[in-house]
Structure formats: C-alpha cells, structure tokens
C-alpha cells in the first residue's frame, strides 16, 4: 500500500444514543521513512501537476463563460428570479386588481400598491404599483401570494444605476381596472377613459426618480413592456385623478 491510498476506508458499526450507526472512518496514512517520504511528496505534487496540465492541453473541458461578451446568447431558466414585472394579456392589459395580497406577503415592504376608485364605475382599482428593486430580495413571495397571476419575476438582471432613486419603479404602464374588469365595458370611449398612463419612474413615493433634475430614466431600459393597445392615445388626466406627482 502506497502512502496515499484514499480507498483505505474503515467501515464499522458504532453505537450512539442507543442507535447502531454504520460508520466509515477516514483514511489516515502514516508517513513512511525519510527517503520514501521525499518520493511520496514529489509523487503527490507531480500527480496534481499532471492533472492541471491535462486541463491545459484540452481546452474543450474548460467551462468559463465569457460574460459580458456572451450577453446575446445568455439563456435563463424560465423560473429564474430577477426583476419583478407585470404579466399582460394579449391586448396588453394587466391583470392586477389592486387586492394588495402581494404587499402583505412581502417580507420587507418592497411593494406598495396604491389603489383608487374608478372615475367611471367607482370600483376599486389599481392606481400605481410601486416596487423597490433596492430592497427587494427576490424571494418570490409576492408572485406566490398573487391570486390573479398578475405578476412574475422576469430575467433582467443588469440593474445597476448611478442613483439609487432610480431603483424604485412603477410597474404598471396604465392605471385602471384589470383586464377582466375592462372587458365588461363595451364602449371603447369609456374604456379609454377608465385607464390613465403611468410612467415607470413617476409616483408619489419619496426618493422616486422622476423629479430629479437632469436625470433621464435610462435605467428603465430593461422594462420595455408591450404598450397597452387599449390606451394608445391617452386622454389628459381628469382633475385630481391620476395626476403625476413628482
């Protein structure tokens, strides 16, 4: 048996706390006499060297990813959790009813759902959906809590900005009822008046980025959401309703 024999494991049974446990004892080789030890030492070093040399000579085994050069081909598993975003139906309408389940479920208050009463129907509906990327920990609790399947975790992960105020997003491009409620309304003109446009960085939360001088919301780049077809030509906001507070 040579000095370094890693298969020299001892299998035995030991009792602990009234249980008989199968146990394997780690190898423990006793160093050999001096000249042999030198031989063993050199052999151990050379074995390791040969292994690394093997990898050097076969580059196909190297697994390094060339990020960011490979950005175009980066693939994410569909469950990958990064930025939070709204789900839209085929008309580009969101499904959020403003029930605030996600806000309650969030462990660190990263979500603030502001609701309003509809101008037309006086129903409870979504005004702003504010999500703080800076405090979100991507735990998925909000997505799990949503009973209407209105939000999901998207894959955009390059979210670095120069000002942390730009990390507070309004997720909904339109304020108004969920798609399910909007479908009940026949008159297209009324439908249009039921929804107001919202911007990604506008909103009443302090620290929100829209009011900053000389700041263009470039950080919003990952949020290229489909523009809602229902409000392609938004009406000016009604008095007091949906006003841009910046």
């Amino acid at each position: 048996m040579s000095f370094m024999d890693f298969t020299d494991l001892r299998y035995e049974k030991r009792t602990l706390g009234g249980k008989i446990l199968p146990v394997v004892v780690c190898p423990r080789f006793n160093p050999r006499s001096q000249p042999m030890r030198v031989f063993d030492a050199v052999k151990g070093l050379l074995q390791g060297m040969r292994l690394t040399l093997g990898y050097l000579l076969s580059p196909s085994k190297i697994v390094t990813q060339q990020y960011p050069e490979n950005r175009a081909t980066l693939k994410f598993p569909e469950r990958y959790r990064a930025i939070l975003k709204f789900k839209y139906d085929e008309n580009g309408l969101h499904k959020c009813t403003g029930c605030k389940n996600c806000e309650v479920a969030c462990p660190n208050a990263s979500i603030k759902v502001i609701t309003r009463d509809s101008v037309i129907t006086e129903d409870h509906e979504l005004d702003r959906y504010i999500w703080r990327l800076d405090s979100c920990m991507f735990c998925n609790a909000c997505v799990q809590a949503c009973p209407f399947d209105a939000i999901e975790m998207g894959h955009a992960f390059e979210n670095a900005v120069y000002d942390r105020r730009l990390l507070i997003y309004g997720l909904n491009p339109i304020a108004g009822p969920a798609a399910s409620a909007l479908e009940n309304e026949e008159d297209p003109e009324v439908r249009r008046r039921m929804s107001d446009p919202r911007t990604i960085l506008g909103g009443p939360i302090p620290l929100n980025g829209a009011g900053l001088p000389n700041l263009k919301p470039v950080a919003a780049a990952p949020f290229v959401d489909p523009l809602p077809i229902a409000v392609t030509d938004p009406l000016p906001p009604e008095d007091g309703e949906g006003e841009e507070v910046s």
């Binding site: 494991l9 780690c26 990958y80 959790r81």
Partner: protein, 387 residues
C-alpha cells in the same frame, strides 16, 4: 462549574513582563475583520509570543443584522427567505429547519414527495457546499487552482437549482406546507448526469489536493480536537464527526426520507485538520449515494399542501426543530403565543457559532500559519455566526 466572564477590554490588557531577561513580550495581532481567511467579516485577536499563538479571542458581530429580532414581526412564510441569508451555503437546510418547526407547531402534514424533494435538494447542496469549501480551503492553504475547480462543480449544481428553484443562492424553496415549485421536468435527468460527473471529480480532487505534500504537512496532526472537548464546546457537523463522534442528525432524527436510504456516517480517527478535511471529502461521496438512491423513485403527490394566503395557526407553546446542514446542527426555537402568526421569540441555533469557539481550544500552542489551516478546516460562514 464556574464561568469566568471577561470583557474584550480586559483580555486585551498588555501581558505581564516576564522575569527572564531573554523572554519575549507577548503582543496582540488582529486577524480580520477583513482577512482572506475569515471569508467574511470576522475579527480574531491573537495573543502571540513570537510566532506562537497563546490565545485566540474571536470577536464576532460585524455582520449582525438582527435576523431573530426581525423575525418577530414576520409571518412564518416571510421568515423563510431570511434564513437563506444566515448560512448561505446551506440555504435549503436552513429553510427546512424553520419549515420543520412551523410544521410541527401548526401540525401541518407533509407527504412523501415533498420530503423526497427536500432531501434531494439538501443533499445536492451539501455536495455543493463541500465542493466550494474544498476549493476555498485549497486557496487558503496556497493552492489557488483548487479554488477554480471547486467553483466549477459548484456551478454545475447551481444550474440545477436555477432551473427548479429559480435562484442560485437564496432559495426560499422549502416552505411551510411543501416546496415552492414542483421539480422541473429536466431535474431528474440533470441530477443523474451531474452525479455521474461528480463521482470521478471527487477522486480528481484527491489527486489534485489531498495527496499534496504541502496540504498534508499543514493538516496532519495540527489542531487536534478531542471528542470530549468538541462535545463540550457544542461543535456539530463535520467538525464533531472528525473528532470521532458519529453524531449525524440525518441518522439520529430520521427527518426527511433519510431513514429510507443507506449511507454511512463519516468520522475521523484523530480530530486533526486532516480528519476535518477528509470527512467532508467522504461526505460528498456519501451524499452522492443518497441522491442516487432517491432520484429514481420520487413519489407522486402534491408539492404544496397549504393555500398561500391563509395564515398558519400555531397554538401556544414552545417548539424546537433542527436539521443537519453542511456545517452542523441548525436549530430553530420558536415560541408561539397563539394570538398571531408571528413568533415570539424565535431563536436560531447556528452551527457555525459553536464551531467558531472551538478555535479557542484548538489554536493555543500552534503557529500563526496553523491558524489558517485550523480555521479553514472549521468551514465557517460568518453571517451564520453573527445572524
């Protein structure tokens, strides 16, 4: 038994001047809080006599976030993601600990499928954690190549997690009532591939590092922890097992589906750094065995038995549950008031905290360079110590 409590200030008083004219004076050296070996912010004050360590005074607390206090205002489901951030290399097991205590308290039944998935994930993460530890140990002891190899295997397993869980580090996967998602359709195939890939890789690790004379010389018979001392200090996990105590919660408590699988408890013979090193190497092989036994027979069933938005009712009482993480026993102690979902209080028993203090028993008498080997063999994760 008497306990002497000394403040850090008292400990750091200059030592007496020895009477002998040739004797050297003892001095203090700060190791950390920013030190490559501490793998985080851990301050160790060394009292040295020349190169020889007289005393090690660990000063934890740099990453203290008050997680336990925060948990008092959170519901059980909200606590789970916070446990990811304790020992982040054992996130699944930490999730499982809090899940177990909540499930015990609320009397939530789990099923075979859920338990099998939980066990599989935990074992995969144990392999991942040990592979990373192996790489980091190599780097601590001067073998930078090992670091890259360790990360390579970690990545392979991370990709499995990414596919099923959606995260690589902070999982929040094992939740009261089940698991977050069912396993991905590719999961079984991928795990089989990775296990087939991992088996020769661990032998490769042995070739690259275990047989290396430098590692051998720096680990063998260095920092011997006797079984009595290890038990007295509350060490668990590979640190305790390396001292020859076959204490493994997976055998002792039979949680998950560990009673269905055949595996050995890995113990060391002496309790030195080498034993702590090789216990983890062998544990990876045992974990691969566990995964291989389970992966073909994941039973059918639902993966979540609770509606998400319903509160979890916990009757008044005190509850404790523990699991074996990659570093030892992680326990969660919960007091439920019965009035609300929120615990009051919640305490985590983290393995790294107790394992850290073993350095006070291990280090005296050894040289500064040996501290590196000793600390490395303890495999500390600092956020778990500080919580």
């Amino acid at each position: 038994m008497t306990v002497t409590i000394r403040t850090l200030n008292e400990l750091l008083q200059p030592s007496h001047l020895p009477a002998h004219p040739l004797a050297t004076q003892e001095y203090f050296v700060n190791m950390g809080p920013q030190h490559p070996i501490s793998h985080g912010s851990l301050r160790l004050v060394l009292r040295l006599d020349g190169e020889t360590v007289k005393e090690v005074i660990p000063v934890p607390g740099f990453v203290h976030r008050g997680v336990e206090k925060m948990c008092e205002s959170l519901t059980p489901r909200q606590i789970v993601p916070y446990t990811d951030r304790l020992d982040y290399l054992s996130a699944f097991m930490n999730n499982w600990a809090i899940t177990r205590v909540v499930e015990t308290a609320a009397g939530i039944e789990s099923n075979e499928r859920i338990e099998t998935i939980r066990t599989l994930m935990s074992e995969l993460q144990r392999i991942q954690s040990h592979a990373l530890w192996w790489g980091v140990t190599g780097m601590d002891l001067g073998a930078f190549t090992a670091f890259l190899y360790g990360f390579r295997e970690r990545e392979v397993i991370s990709e499995i997690f990414e596919e099923t869980v959606g995260a690589r580090l902070t999982m929040n996967y094992i939740q009261p009532g089940g698991v977050m998602y069912d396993i991905h359709p590719n999961f079984v195939k991928r795990v089989k591939d990775v296990m087939a890939y991992m088996k020769p890789i661990i032998d490769e690790y042995d070739t690259l590092l275990s047989g290396n004379v430098i590692l051998q010389e720096r680990c063998r018979n260095i920092g011997i922890l006797s079984p009595e001392k290890a038990i007295a200090l509350g060490c668990t996990g590979p640190v305790l097992r390396a001292s020859g105590v076959p204490y493994d919660l997976r055998k002792m408590e039979n949680y998950g589906v560990y009673n269905k699988v055949d595996f050995n408890v890995v113990v060391g013979a002496v309790g030195d750094c080498w034993d702590r090193y090789y216990v983890r190497m062998q544990e990876m092989r045992e974990s691969i065995r566990i995964v291989e036994q389970l992966i073909d027979s994941i039973p059918e069933g639902p993966t979540m038995t609770l509606r998400y938005n319903l509160p979890i009712e916990m009757p008044e009482g005190t509850y404790y549950s523990q699991v074996e993480t990659a570093r030892g026993v992680f326990g969660a102690f919960l007091v439920a008031e019965g009035k609300s979902e929120k615990p009051y209080p919640l305490h985590f028993r983290s393995p790294n905290y107790n394992n850290l203090w073993s350095v006070t028993a291990l280090a005296p008498g050894w040289r500064v360079a040996d501290i590196i080997a000793i600390l490395s063999s303890l495999d500390l994760v600092i956020p778990d110590i500080d919580r």
